[in-house]
């Protein structure tokens, strides 16, 4: 089942609060595959009007072992990095995104250190948005109204090295059931009627480099999808960027 939703306020089935965080994302895959949010109307950002700095993509592929442990796969990850990069290039042309790549060459150690802190900051903020925005049970009391997240003004450091007004961060994580997992799934399915195979989780964040404000956030969580072929990666990135405000 694939459903696309693109709306200001997320809707999904009620989820029990007692479940562990790790269980929540795979559960979501059953309801809303992709969801994107804007903090304002009209949107702060419109594709094609300003250049966007594409930050280093963060892609990890895992094999899900029988015990549910995620076994990192270097070969899949490296291939997926190429596929996602190519997919973003395609999107850049089709959606006139005016993407420019993040470059570290020519920067001093201290400058690199500062910029990498921004990348790490996004890892923290991105995960927080994913959990607290997508999962209604985890919605923060201070974030119940309009989508309002910020990375703070420290992101301005990027402005010193680029003309871009916005930065785009992309994170994708895929896991695929291994042989052992498939076998265990059958046992589980026989006993309990449900089994969890691999999942695809990802998000994209567009940040205003002047204010730190998150101008657009999109997330993907589903029990299907793949990044191991170019076609599948194209489909996933297309879905992830669905709902990016256009003029």
């Amino acid at each position: 089942m694939q459903m696309k939703r693109n709306e200001r306020r997320p809707r999904s089935r009620p989820i029990g609060t007692g479940l562990a965080l790790a269980c929540l994302l795979p559960l979501l895959s059953g309801c809303v595959t992709q969801q994107s949010v804007n903090p304002a109307s009209p949107p702060l950002f419109t594709a094609g009007q300003q250049t966007v700095l594409l930050m280093p993509i963060d892609v990890e592929l895992f094999e899900l072992t029988a015990g549910g442990l995620k076994d990192p796969r270097a070969d899949w990850t490296e291939a997926a990095n190429r596929y996602v990069t190519a997919a973003l290039k395609k999107e850049n042309e089709e959606r006139s995104l005016r993407l420019v790549s993040y470059q570290e060459s020519g920067l001093s150690f201290e400058e690199k250190q500062e910029l990498r802190q921004i990348i790490k900051l996004h890892q923290a903020v991105g995960v927080a948005m994913l959990l607290h925005q997508r999962v209604p049970a985890l919605r923060l009391p201070t974030k119940t109204g309009v989508f309002d997240w910020s990375m703070g003004e420290s992101v301005r450091a990027l402005r010193r090295h680029t003309d871009a007004r916005y930065a785009l961060f992309v994170y994708m994580e895929d896991s695929y059931a291994s042989g052992g997992r498939v076998a265990l799934n059958i046992v589980t399915a026989v006993l309990f009627g449900a089994a969890q195979g691999g999942t695809q989780v990802g998000y994209a964040t567009l940040v205003d480099l002047e204010t730190g404000q998150v101008a657009w956030f999109s997330s993907l969580a589903r029990g299907s999808g793949d990044l191991r072929t170019q076609e599948a990666a194209d489909e996933a990135i297309d879905l992830l960027l669905e709902g990016l405000p256009t003029s």
Partner: protein, 387 residues
């Protein structure tokens, strides 16, 4: 009905056990060779990739000690001990005030600054480096990772079994047990690494008995600590420190014509480059008994060092028993006479105030302000003196 279920579970458990055993034999990794790179589609390559990411983060970390001379020295010791492994190992000194060193499967070696404060010569350092190279050579992390995968697979099935039997909450237990097994190397792996380490350090010309000295030092420190509870998760996964000390001592005695290099001075000279920072970090842990053992060891080597006297006085001052304050005062008087850093005068002032020697305290504070007029707390001290 229940019996049937149990029988089913038992047979399932047994078959899983058998599977696990096969798995262990089939996946037992062999010793790593020089210049090794894992096959791209292997679990080892996956682990290496994650480690490479962590290493890239570490290179930009604020916790990394970047003293070029000291890190070059550490790399030299690693090369002397590791020999053919040398080009595959990269050493990172990280600012963490506890005793530890670790080795990632991809050759990233971490040494914590707390370790540098607790070894007193190059031979002891070589013993630890040799031990870590032992883990690397035998690919122990990969072995652990594979064992964890197998353990979790089994625990998942056991968990399901308990779920069927109606023990809902208990069903979570096997996962927790399995995760605990992920935490550390096994005792057998530690023992194996100890043996390899001793062999490597001896081959590199170091006095083999230094290896057991490291453990003796750690035991001395733990015994001094009133908060040290035994047994804990550390000792359950590691062989008992005493066992390791004794084992290493026995192994060292078996070495025919043991080499004798200890290199205490070479080591101390290098460690001193960042020692005051390390001692500051140690004092801040507020573990006075442990700190006094560490400082006592260093002071046996350099009894007249004013910096060591100052830090010992700091530990005593912060513990703050009356007898501590008297001892601290004496140490600070000696340290300030011998040219300790300006802040020793401030400590002397604080100690004397606590001992109600106001006039002497004032003199010490005035001297502090003379020596460090722009110190961040100068205003505070001045206002105190003016009262």
């Amino acid at each position: 009905m229940t019996i049937d279920r149990r029988q089913w579970l038992v047979s399932l458990g047994a078959s899983c056990g058998a599977l696990m055993l096969c798995g262990c034999q089939a996946t037992q990794p062999t010793r790593v060779s020089t210049g090794h790179t894992p096959a791209p589609d292997s679990d080892e390559a996956g682990l290496w990739r994650l480690m490479a990411n962590a290493e890239e983060d570490l290179r930009f970390s604020k916790f990394l000690v970047r003293d070029r001379e000291l890190t070059t020295y550490l790399s030299k010791v690693v090369c002397r001990v590791g020999q053919s492994v040398c080009p595959d190992v990269r050493v990172y000194l990280t600012r963490v005030p506890y005793f530890n060193a670790s080795m990632a499967p991809n050759g990233m070696m971490l040494i914590w600054t707390g370790l540098l404060l607790r070894v007193t010569n190059e031979a002891q350092l070589a013993a630890i480096v040799g031990h870590e190279i032992g883990h690397y050579l035998e690919r122990h992390s990969l072995e652990r990772w594979r064992a964890a995968k197998t353990a979790l697979a089994t625990s998942n099935v056991i968990g399901l079994g308990l779920g069927v039997a109606g023990a809902g909450a208990l069903a979570q237990l096997p996962g927790i047990v399995a995760m605990a097994s992920l935490l550390a190397y096994t005792r057998d792996q530690e023992r194996e690494a100890d043996e390899i380490g001793l062999e490597l350090m001896t081959r590199a010309g170091y006095w083999p008995a230094a290896a057991s000295e490291v453990w003796a030092s750690l035991i001395e420190e733990a015994e001094a600590d009133p908060d040290e509870d035994q047994p804990d998760i550390f000792t359950s996964t590691h062989p008992e420190p005493a066992e390791r000390r004794d084992n290493l001592r026995t192994l060292a005695r078996q070495v025919a014509n043991p080499p004798t290099a200890v290199r205490e001075q070479d080591y101390m000279l290098q460690a001193k480059r960042i020692r005051s920072q390390l001692l500051d970090d140690q004092v801040r842990l507020r573990q006075p008994e442990r700190s006094l053992v560490v400082l006592g060891r260093l002071r046996r080597i350099e009894p007249d060092d004013p910096e060591l006297k100052f830090f010992e006085a700091e530990v005593l001052r912060l513990r703050g028993q009356t007898s501590d304050l008297r001892k601290a005062e004496n140490l600070l008087v000696e340290a300030t006479d011998a040219g300790a850093p300006a802040r020793a005068w401030r400590s002397l002032g604080v100690v004397r105030r606590k001992l109600d020697s106001e006039a002497l305290a004032e003199r010490a504070f005035r001297r502090y302000l003379e020596l460090a007029p722009d110190a961040p707390d100068a205003m505070l001290i001045r206002s105190y003196l003016e009262r």
